[in-house]
Amino acid sequence: MRYIDEFRRPESVERLLALIRNRSRTPVRLMEFCGGHTHAVFRFGLRQLLPETVSLLAGPGCPVCVTSPTDLDRAIAMSRIKGVTLATFGDMLRVPGSDGTLQEAKAEGADVRIVYSTLDALGIARANADREVVFLGVGFETTAPSVAAAILTAQQEGLKNFSILSLHKLTPPAMRAILDAGEVRLSGILGPGHVTTIIGADAWRFLARDYGISCAVAGFEPIDILLAVRALVENIEKQSPEVVNAYMRSVRPGGNPQAQSYVDRVFHVAATEWRGLGSVPMSGLFLRDAFAGFDATLRFPVHIEPGKEPPGCLCGEVLRGRVEPTDCPLFCDLCSPEHPIGPCMVSSEGACAAHMLYGEA
């Protein structure tokens, strides 16, 4: 498969590992911002192949994991409204809210349907004029443009039974929040390659400029990840913080302006609640007034008590990079993929799930 196989060649992976081993002297702590990287690192077993001087830490880049309990409760409550069909990506189905999951609501009779694209949700709305379709919009900058496109299409078609609950979040502000909290000492950051495909490598310049931290924007194949790690190790050894694009085939300095323009048209930015980070300024996407007709929170105002974190759950600290999944007292014991307590164990990109499912042997 083109653009996949070449970036997985074992000889090339070994070569890169050797180059990294040769160069790396100073112990470094790199945050894999994106859950997709956590997943890839575990799946390919890269952690054990990297030298001991390089340690990788998972960050808050898992949109499922950072959905606040209150927001999830809101989605579940909406799904229970008679006549509502809640369309969601599969990833959200098993995340525990304060009182159950979407999957449980479905088992109890709520009309919850899994979709693979916002276009599918539009399709459901078109095919079922008697149902109110609410799309659960979870995801970062990679996904937001497709949701914006769906809304514009719905507007053009005059669809009356389609709305979205926007829980979309922006990643650079979250990165700032983590660094400002000062809880973790990071030497460098593995930047999210697909988010950055949309927002552009320039969006991360502030890391080197304001925090003196290097960032290498990485793709998701083993060679992509290792190229980025190698660039970070190099910059750290040289003590020269830089923001580097290690995913050149997809990422441009300015990102994807077409996608950005869709988002700007449909959404405005405001503070929003992140599980583990609290309220982060200028980090959430909300529908502009012109699209209020598609806003599920206006169409279905539900009263929600502030959601609660499950007692003992350390997801928040895992997301901030403050602890490793193995430090959580619930890990593996009470909290497992079959009986997850927190979102980090549910999501395929969650650090805890990755540790457990792809655990090192």
Partner: protein
């Protein structure tokens, strides 16, 4: 949401296209990659093409493996 897959455009119909990988076809939207042509490779995410893959850049990345000395591809982040 990070999962995006490289596919080849085999047919374009207006704003939609059929994208192929390993013999499997997926129907996608080209709303964010209108410059794509048949034969181009695009990254698709949740049914949308999010970037046109650049062959030269891919080769450049792979060629970094051959270099004995390391030099970073800066200039796209920290400065001009």
């Amino acid at each position: 949401m990070c999962l995006a897959v490289p596919t080849r455009i085999v047919r374009i119909e207006g704003e939609e296209a059929d994208a192929e990988i390993g013999g499997v076809l997926r129907r996608i939207s080209l709303a964010f990659a209108r410059e794509a042509r048949v034969g181009d490779y695009v990254l698709i995410h949740a049914g949308f093409a999010i970037s046109l893959l650049d062959e030269d850049s891919a080769q450049e990345s792979l060629s970094l493996l051959e270099e004995v000395g390391v030099h970073t591809r800066s200039g796209e982040g920290a400065g001009p």
